[in-house]
């Protein structure tokens, strides 16, 4: 940036120049604001937001209660109590994610062997009380927003 020589700045001309600039913006504003509730900012396919649990066709969660996600979780926000049914299939008895603690790193999705838990393209999760931020299994399964692509499938370099 070039600055005028010290003490050589012209106040009148500079002021008029500034006025012209603001007037140009007034008549031709470069509006960049999104009108939020009606207009939304397009999210990146890799945006990591509110979690979602994938479901089988018969309504059971895809989770096999392997315990990898609570282990990898750096914020320690996932609580998992696994169980086993009569056929020897493991399933989660308790699966809770504290969305307040979560740092949305997406490592739970990366580590999941059966692609059950996902972070999603969703960010509007305000609540009236703190306890509502702990999402239980039913709530995680009920989420219907699109899930995150942790890498772009068309670009091998991102894998």
């Amino acid at each position: 940036m070039t600055r005028p020589e010290p003490g050589r700045a012209s106040y009148v001309r500079a002021a008029l120049k500034g006025m012209a600039l603001t007037f140009r913006h007034l008549v031709n504003p470069h509006k960049v604001t999104y009108q939020y509730p009606e207009e939304r900012y397009p999210l990146s396919p890799r945006w990591r937001g509110t979690h979602r649990m994938e479901v089988h066709a018969d309504g059971r969660p895809k989770c096999v209660a392997c315990g990898l996600c609570p282990t990898v979780c750096p914020a320690n926000c996932i609580r998992l109590v696994g169980g086993e049914d009569d056929n020897g299939n493991r399933y989660p008895i308790v699966y809770e994610i504290d969305e307040f603690r979560c740092i949305f790193c997406g490592m739970c999705q990366e580590v999941c062997p059966v692609e059950a838990i996902h972070v999603g393209q969703h960010y509007e999760n305000a609540e009236y009380s703190r306890d509502r931020f702990v999402y239980d299994l039913d709530r995680l399964m009920a989420q219907d927003h699109p899930v995150t692509h942790l890498w772009d499938p068309s670009d091998p370099r991102t894998e």
Partner: protein, 427 residues
């Protein structure tokens, strides 16, 4: 047509008071919205557009919020003056509008009604007296808050008012010399008779008046009493809820009355340019529109549509100044305190004094030459004023004026060079 009198006069006056007061407060509310929207557009934002269509209900929402908010007053504040402050600053700003003529006289079955709340013979003096009263609200509020920032803001406000009130009054002297009286209605008439709005024959007075009015109104670039970056919000730091809002209403009411005043004094008030049909003034109990070659008065024909048109003209001129205020505010940065004082005392006042001499001399010469008060009279004054204005701007633009700290360094040249060398060696 006779002037309205008796009971009809009382009713007409009451109606005018109610209508003007309501209109002023309503305009004030919408000027706040206008300011926020225009500021947003200038900064590539959108501004408040959520409450109602185009955000038109925003001022109402703001008012409601301020009424319902908690009133706090600091423990160590002087309660009486703390409450008095906002009232004192609001009152003068709204009362000034009483002497501003806002349209051509309106004919009614009961007589002709002047479109001015109070046609005071001392119009300008009344305005000057009340506009300097406005600072008392700020000073009292700032002092009573018992807060150092509020106090500093109040102090700055009073210093600024003292400095710029002089320049304001002096620039008005030129207007008074040309108009020959202090009544605002007659000033409009004199501008109609001159065929020139005073902004042209008194160009430099116009410029000085606008600058002083900005300073008097505490608007940017002279908003030192508020100065958010230095003084939190200056004199109203401790205020909340409706008392805080009252300071703002006062500021915007002041802005509106100042704009109306500038329109009246320099842009012909409600006069519609290039049209003789709207020229009206009471001369010896009759409403005249001018004089013929022998000096006999020509009777004016007031009509409701003329009143409406002139009202629109007045509104347009006032809006122009309101827009100018907003435009300048969102363009120019704030002056430093010493720069404001420097500009006020060393530039504005001497210039205004010199200009009074110049205009006085020119009027004297014109009168000695028996030039009739009319177009040629205005043309000569315009030529003189434009030269003076050009000179003033030229000098101002050569940075003899607003150099600030840098100017001081430049004057003591050796010290400046030493500082330069130190900087260079550091690099």
């Amino acid at each position: 047509m006779e002037k309205v009198a008796g009971t009809a006069f009382l009713i007409a006056s009451s109606a005018k008071v109610v209508a003007t007061f309501t209109l002023v407060l309503l305009s004030v509310a919408y000027i706040t919205l206008l300011e926020r929207r225009l500021a947003a557009f200038m900064q590539d934002r959108r501004g408040p557009n959520r409450v109602g269509p185009f955000g038109l209900l925003q001022p109402i929402a703001d008012g409601l919020k301020n009424l319902l908010k908690e009133e706090t007053s600091p423990a160590a504040a002087s309660r009486f003056y703390f409450f008095l402050g906002p009232m004192l600053s609001l009152m003068p700003a709204t009362v000034i509008f009483a002497v501003v003529p806002f349209a051509a006289p309106l004919p009614t079955p009961w007589g002709v009604v002047d479109m001015i709340v109070a046609d005071l013979p001392v119009g300008i003096l009344f305005v000057l007296a009340l506009s300097s009263l406005a600072v008392y609200g700020i000073v009292l509020g700032g002092w009573a808050s018992n807060n150092k920032y509020a106090f500093l803001g109040a102090l700055r406000s009073s210093a600024q008012m003292v400095s710029y009130e002089v320049a304001l009054g002096l620039s008005l002297v030129a207007v008074l010399m040309l108009a020959g009286n202090v009544t605002l209605t007659e000033m409009v008439w004199r501008q109609q008779q001159l065929d020139w709005w005073f902004a042209f024959p008194l160009a430099l007075a116009f410029l000085l008046f606008v600058i002083s009015a900005f300073a008097e109104n505490n608007r940017l670039p002279f908003d030192l009493p508020e100065a958010e970056s230095e003084l939190i919000t200056g004199y109203h730091t401790e205020y909340s809820a409706m008392k805080f809002s009252m300071f703002f209403i006062a500021e915007y009411a002041h802005l509106l009355t100042n704009s109306a005043l500038m329109a009246t004094l320099f842009l012909g008030g409600w006069d519609i340019p290039f049209w003789r049909g709207d020229d009206m003034f009471w001369v010896g109990g009759a409403l005249v529109s001018g004089f013929d070659a022998t000096g006999a008065p020509l009777l004016a024909e007031p009509a409701w549509w003329k009143t409406a048109l002139t009202l629109a003209a007045f509104a347009a001129k006032t809006s122009f100044f309101v827009f100018l205020y907003i435009w300048v505010r969102w363009t120019l940065p704030r002056f430093r305190y010493d720069q404001v004082m420097h500009l006020g005392w060393k530039v504005m006042i001497p210039t205004a004094l010199a200009y009074i001499m110049l205009i006085g001399g020119t009027i004297l010469v014109l009168d000695a030459l028996r030039t009739p008060y009319g177009f040629t009279y205005g043309l000569v004054l315009t030529a003189v004023s434009l030269v003076a204005t050009g000179l003033f701007v030229f000098v101002l633009d050569r940075d003899r004026i607003i150099g600030g700290a840098d100017l001081t360094r430049r004057r003591s040249g050796t010290e400046y060079q030493r500082a330069e060398m130190i900087v260079a060696s550091d690099l």
